[in-house]
């Protein structure tokens, strides 16, 4: 028997770390949630349940925290797993994109053989903040001619209004702060 996990259990299991990685940032730490197998599976189950009938063929997950539930979700949706990584990490030919995020600026890359035009993609990251990272990943995915893109997060920080940037794309976030 699995204990019944509630939305409040999930919220309570996420730890807030003040001033990490920079002063003024209230970092949402999911490690305290996912170390509990029932809470980890509550996260995976809910995102899978929400997206299971969309015909998703690939889960595109963002390095590094997005890989954790991303792997479990891809497996359960019977979708392929595609990593989006920081520069120089992917060993073959890549598309790359510049992006800005809550903590600074950067570059993200995806393998040129990762996707096909008819793929139906779910982008996964642990957290939606300003939406800058997700928008960059959408730009990467659109280079393949793909238009069917869904977004799935564990946490969304509503006050940063990432939602507005990503408006045309269906989105599901498990918790809002």
């Amino acid at each position: 028997m699995h204990p019944v996990i509630t939305q409040k259990d999930l919220e309570d299991s996420i730890r807030t770390i003040p001033d990490f990685p920079k002063p003024g940032i209230q970092f949402k730490d999911i490690t305290t949630a996912i170390k509990d197998p029932d809470i980890f599976n509550y996260i995976v189950d809910n995102i899978v349940e929400y997206y299971k009938n969309k015909g998703i063929t690939k889960v595109v997950a963002i390095e590094s925290r997005g890989f954790i539930a991303g792997g479990a979700i891809a497996s359960r949706l019977n979708a392929g797993f595609i990593p989006v990584r920081k520069p120089g990490k992917l060993p073959s030919e890549t598309y790359s994109v510049n992006y800005s995020l809550e903590y600074g600026e950067g570059i993200l890359e995806i393998h040129k053989d990762a996707l096909k035009q008819n793929d139906i993609v779910m982008i996964h990251d642990d957290l939606l903040a300003t939406g800058g990272t997700s928008l960059a990943v959408i730009e990467l995915i659109r280079k393949f001619g793909i238009s069917k893109i869904f977004l799935g997060y564990i946490i969304e920080l509503d006050f940063l209004q990432g939602k507005k940037k990503l408006e045309p794309y269906p989105k599901y976030s498990l918790i809002h702060f």
Copy 2:
């Protein structure tokens, strides 16, 4: 119906990239394997099948590639997921360890509240090379007083003899090169 995946399908799906990330290294690229949902699930199913009756309570996965199948395996084993990360990435108090690996040297960290003495742990990484990284992670896990440690990899590079370094710990690797 899922197509039946064979060991040869898995082997054929892994791409070798010469001279990455350094001259002389034949890099085993799993992205071409895990983008195929049937091969990704073949990997997950086999590691889960091998370890499902060991009472594993935590999957400790090594950043970043270890997070991908690590998340799926933890979910399926109904174990908690514990990330081991590079310095400065984990936001709360950590234990840390110096390690050497095929490509150089580094430091790995684990949260001090990640594990308990009675946990039964499976360490997961995508690849076992010299065993230096895994030995460092074992050192981290032993700081909690844990002795029941299992090792699970997708790929093992036999000629680097990582196996010898890790001899006391039960190990399962899906493919050997």
